[in-house]
């Protein structure tokens, strides 16, 4: 079994021009590793490679310097072929200090390249990383290629002409390292120069210093190539569909999708949010898009955020709220109100490790029960899950469509991985999406009478804006009378209204389930949802190349499920469901279809590795 091959180059030697490479930048949380990774990602995208990234950082903003828990890492997998994941094992590890080496070494591929800054391997820093001896000198790294030199000193030397203090000078280290990485992969420096000039427009001396550091790192590559293990690799562009591309993170994609969705509905958008990791980025993005008829409201708490969004929907805007697991839990009662009053609402849940505060900056898919079942009473709402940053755009539009067309709250699931990860995105033409204009009732809908809960053929009640002349009526969380919406606790009415709410949601039109890789029917289906798409897809691809009868089914509509899904699952001998939780979607599938879905679970706060899933596939088919 191939444990290392998977989604990383099959040949560890970089110089042999592999079709994909995995690089991990790791340093102290103050070292600017996320920035380095972000800019390297941009240069990779501009070079036309396909890519996937995995930013992995601590919950603390500035953890104590040099500590193991303060390490911040950014991994990128890029190649001249389709890339589905951020890669299992890095080919190159850039370790800016001992703690970064210690926490990331185990991931490195045997024979992989370590680039280390000897300037940071002081006794003090070695102690902080719990190293008894300097690993750069004691031979313990013998199975890797090691390139260790004093990046700190070289950076200080490079920026000397700009008169920076020692501290500021050392802050240019990440650009020096980026310069070296740009050389390694034969990338132009100009886009980074431009970016630095823009970033430091008000402090040109800092721009100059950072550019000098970048250039020095780049120049060092040529020197090092002559004597050491460093080789320049040219990664050809991936043949891609023609068009305009950019990189996008999940948080950006959700924000843009919501803006597009509101426009397709012809509605102003009201976004109520409360700061929480990793969902805040959506609030930040939307706060800058007010020219798109977006109002953002930072509420006093999660409950107020959703309640204000419900109020805005009631008044005729498209209400949206966003949070992560613990915040979603706080919003639960208000979701019930939106279900009862049948108002459109989009709830974005950027899932993170739980329960409780859990792992704020790490990813998990453990809010599926919460999304599908987690409310008091029979309180159904549609649930959609995005599989990747680019998919999040379409999913956000879909969530808006369902909310408006069916007068219902809709939950959109992403996760910490999707929210932060970047990937190339073929920029879509907004005109290619069919509009779904919202309709407001302007006249009484039953002769002389107004029936606020009279349903259309989709089961949706009319949307009636306060301020509309003559259509005064009352809504609320108490059980509503059929059609009139008056208070009504009577047994037959509650039965009828419970059924109506359930039928409406089950009747949401959902496209039939397709098989995204493989064939309908066969020995094994690997069924996934959300961000496990990448590793599952790659693992199934590799297994199929080996001749195994396995197919990949990726479910976007978690509730209601696609109408043909049950039959489709029954056409396979075995069904595996990998999830970053303890088996939640597996339970839903078993409940709905009585299929023997088998779970593959992982709750380490890290995405699946491709090789883990390859192993599971091979075992299932053994």
């Amino acid at each position: 079994m191939a444990t290392q091959a998977a989604d990383t180059p099959h040949d560890p030697a970089l110089s042999q021009q592999p079709d994909a490479v995995v690089v991990r930048f790791a340093g102290d949380s103050g070292d600017g590793m996320q920035l380095t990774g972000g800019q390297f990602t941009l240069s990779t995208a501009l070079a036309g490679n396909d890519l996937a990234t995995f930013p992995d950082f601590p919950a603390e903003i500035r953890a104590p310097q040099g500590t193991l828990f303060g390490v911040s890492a950014f991994q990128i997998n890029f190649g001249s072929r389709e890339i589905n994941t951020a890669g299992d094992a890095p080919d190159v590890l850039v370790a800016m200090n001992p703690a970064a080496l210690k926490t990331n070494l185990s991931a490195l591929k045997p024979g992989g390249l370590i680039i280390a800054d000897t300037g940071e391997f002081s006794k003090r820093n070695l102690d902080k990383a719990h190293y008894d001896a300097n690993p750069l000198e004691d031979g313990s790294l013998a199975k890797y290629d090691l390139l260790a030199f004093d990046i700190s000193a070289l950076t200080i030397e490079a920026v000397k002409p700009f008169g920076l203090g020692n501290k500021d000078a050392l802050r240019c280290k990440n650009m020096w390292t980026l310069g070296l990485a740009l050389w390694m992969f034969d990338r132009p420096r100009k886009p980074i120069h431009d970016w630095l000039r823009e970033k430091f427009a008000k402090k040109p001396e800092l721009a100059d210093a950072n550019i000098a550091a970048l250039d020095a790192g780049h120049a060092y590559g040529e020197t090092a190539e002559l004597s050491g293990p460093l080789k320049q690799v040219h990664m050809p562009a991936m043949p891609a569909e023609p068009g305009l591309y950019r990189t996008i993170t999940g948080a950006e994609a959700v924000s843009l999708g919501l803006v597009a969705g509101a426009q397709l509905a012809g509605l102003p958008m009201f976004f109520g949010g409360y700061p929480i990791t990793p969902a805040s980025a959506i609030l930040h993005h939307l706060a800058r898009l007010k020219q798109y008829d977006v109002t953002t409201f930072q509420a006093e708490d999660e409950i107020a955020a959703i309640c204000a969004a419900i109020g805005a929907s009631y008044a005729g805007s498209l209400g949206v709220t966003s949070s992560s697991g613990p915040g979603i839990a706080l919003k639960t009662e208000a979701m019930g109100l939106a279900i009862m009053t049948e108002l459109p609402l989009v709830i974005v849940n950027s899932q993170r490790g739980g329960p409780s505060t859990g792992l704020p900056t790490k990813t998990e898919q453990s809010d599926l029960y919460q999304a599908v079942y987690g409310r008091n009473g029979d309180a159904p709402l549609p649930v959609i899950a995005a599989r990747s940053p680019e998919d999040a755009f379409d999913c956000a539009i879909e969530a808006c469509r369902i909310a408006v067309e069916y007068m219902t709250p809709v939950m959109l699931l992403t996760d910490g991985y999707i929210a932060n990860a970047a990937e190339p995105w073929k920029v879509p033409d907004p005109a290619s999406y069919a509009p779904f204009p919202a309709k407001f009732l302007t006249e009484k809908n039953d002769g002389e009478h107004l029936l606020p809960y009279k349903r259309d053929n989709k089961g949706a009640r009319p949307w009636i804006k306060p301020g509309t002349p003559g259509l005064m009526h009352r809504i609320g969380g108490i059980e509503k009378q059929l059609n009139t919406g008056h208070l009504d606790y009577s047994p037959a009415n509650h039965q009828a209204m419970t059924d109506a709410r359930k039928d409406k949601v089950l009747g949401v039109s959902v496209p039939d389930q397709d098989v995204c890789l493989g064939a309908p029917g066969g020995k094994l289906a690997v069924v996934g949802w959300g961000s496990t798409f990448g590793p599952i897809h790659r693992a199934v691809h590799v297994a199929r190349e080996k001749g195994l009868d396995v197919s990949h089914i990726h479910v976007r509509h978690i509730w209601p499920l696609p109408g043909n899904l049950g039959e489709l699952l029954k056409s396979y001998d075995k069904v595996l469901v990998p999830e970053m939780n303890t088996g939640q979607f597996k339970t839903v599938l078993r409940d709905q279809y009585l299929v023997d879905a088998q779970p593959i679970t992982k709750t380490s706060g890290q995405p699946f590795y491709v090789h883990e899933l390859e192993a599971a596939i091979e075992e299932a088919l053994a």
Partner: protein, 338 residues
Amino acid sequence: MNEMTKIETTLKDWETDQEVRWCPGCGDYAILKAVQRTLPQLGADPSNTVFISGIGCSSRFPYYMETYGFHTIHGRAPAVATGVKLANPDLDIWLVTGDGDGLSIGGNHMLHVLRRNVNMQIMLFNNEIYGLTKGQYSPTSRIGTRSPSTPIGSVDRPANPCAFALGAGARFVGRGFDVSKNLPDVLKAAHAHQGAAFIEIFQNCIVYNKDVFNDFAAPKGAEDRQLWLENGQPMLFAGGTQGIALDNENLCLKVVDVTDGDWEAVGVIVHDVTNRSIAHMLVELPFGPFPMALGVLYDDPRPTFESGVAEDRVKATAGKEANLAKLLSNGQTWTVAG
């Protein structure tokens, strides 16, 4: 209140066809009538009026008003109302809440709707008890209140709604009681105020906390126990024979006797609704040694939240076009040739 076209209505136009479900004799009936009597006098338009409430006896109010109404969830009405107001600032919003809804489960939202100064009238019906859940003591119940959850009497100190409101930054604080003939005047002043107008309305729960306000609300002796404040008028009560003056030495208020109507001689304060320092003293005035301060205690408007949000929008969007296609292709892009 917003600039609106005044329209002619009668009390009947504001009544719904729904059966009112409060207990017979509940103070809420009187408040309902006072509101229904006041709105025609304001020239208000039922189509443009929204009553928003939380949970509790008071919060059933919207069902009985022939306006738009939203009976939300426990404590959250201020948050829902904030969203409604931001989405459509032209709506005239009345918030209905109680001592449990507004100061216990919804205390946080009450703080923030007042602090932000969202333009609406907030009526907090204070009956010092949880009525709809059958009589538990509430955050405004006096120490020693016997209730199903405090069989030998409550031990925690009560909150003072008007002091809370003022502390939260409210720019309008008024007070009245259910059967008072002056209640419509307080409601009118609240409606005229641009911003969050907080009105505490003492309300008699005849089932679980009967006559708890009788000390000052009972008609007999009311003159001596009610201080009705009026802007620009001296703070007099007991038929003008007593007044409120400033105790300069202790920096607090004191009761003074007024002889022959010469209130100036004994330093009775002329009520200035914009005086925040005096307002702080008025809301804290202990009943017993002092009469109950009623009417408009404080009224000094500041820019509203929704006007700030609107100005922010103008600033944030100046010179920016809304071109979705351009937005999607923001940042550094590259083209793959066909």
